[in-house]
Subunit: 195 residues, 2 copies
Amino acid sequence: MPDAVTDRRNQIHRVACKLFRDKGFHGSSIRDIAEEVGLLGGSLYNHITSKDDLLSEIVDAAAERFFSALRPIVDSDLGTLQKLRSAMIAHVGVIAEDLDAAAVFTVEWRHLSPERRAAFTRRRNDYEQMFRRLVRAAIHDRLLSVQDETTATLFIFSTLNHMFTWFKTDGPLTAEDVGRVMSDYILDGLKRRTA
Amino acid sequence: MPDAVTDRRNQIHRVACKLFRDKGFHGSSIRDIAEEVGLLGGSLYNHITSKDDLLSEIVDAAAERFFSALRPIVDSDLGTLQKLRSAMIAHVGVIAEDLDAAAVFTVEWRHLSPERRAAFTRRRNDYEQMFRRLVRAAIHDRLLSVQDETTATLFIFSTLNHMFTWFKTDGPLTAEDVGRVMSDYILDGLKRRTA
DNA sequence: GGCTCCCAAACAAGCGTTTGTTCGGTACAG
DNA sequence: CTGTACCGAACAAACGCTTGTTTGGGAGCC
């Protein structure tokens, strides 16, 4: 596959991603996307097969990045708590590396066609399961103060997943900084420990 | 205003809220809403003035509920940390009391018309400011381990705001349970304190 | 000459909204 | 008590416009 071909495709994905994030999937028309790419509406169909397909590919690519970041950590020989901490930092890293994609992944996925939405949900559940197992291991090792792994995992994801709403790439903090700060907050809490 | 009038309006708001949450603002047509109410599309305009107005009213009502819940706590004579904790619980309470509205408030507001979106952002910033002041006070009283009130506040909202994605009204936990659990997590963290 | 990329134009369907009209009820004049 | 004038709510149909997508043809490159 020549580079020019890949470039156009990537450009379309990038542009679509940004528009989907800003104006939502149904708020962004094919013609909107085409214009930003420098084409007419119909011309996009030389590169995509449908609007639904476009969303699907964006969301799938994002999912793949989350998995790729988490797997080596799960398979590593780090300590239980270090695994959990690394997983959180890695998760934040994936979000920070493409904020638009993270936004689409987190909020626009529900506009997939029913079958694809079901497949997406399954895949995301698998990912959450991997995370949950890390939490369970930490509970088992008596490293956490909580008993309920489900609520704890939801708590973690709530905190991490919506970082894309406020994180600025050009801000004072790098992605890894934020990942460390967030995982510290999650593990240690905000309250001062009266020594 | 007779009850029948109010009822229809409330019914439309409720239905629209649910649809906006499920399929998004642009994914829900006037005819979709009307059908669920038992009317034809055009007939809705005896009760609403525009689709944008409808969204605006839903979002404004939600904002008002958040303010109403927070104000008495800020004005109370509770201790600094108790205020912060109560504020978090109250915030969760407002979300739990109408999950559809909370979802629309948190994710669909950006489809408001530009002027209204600006007004909404201003109002939400005011609310976040009230919260931030509670955090600042707690930092000033040396009750928190963190210095950066901005990040801490973002952390709190990240965790609380997206509860609507997983909270089930018919689950084992009441809204206040969840509020307490969440604020404990936020303040104390997940990690066990090795005494 | 074949292939890739794009345009121009069209398609049916759906959008938010407006229109003209009907129908049930309710207030009030006689 | 009756007749009539008015009103809000609903329907059926249409408005102009945008939607996602398809088609046919024409450049320009290997």
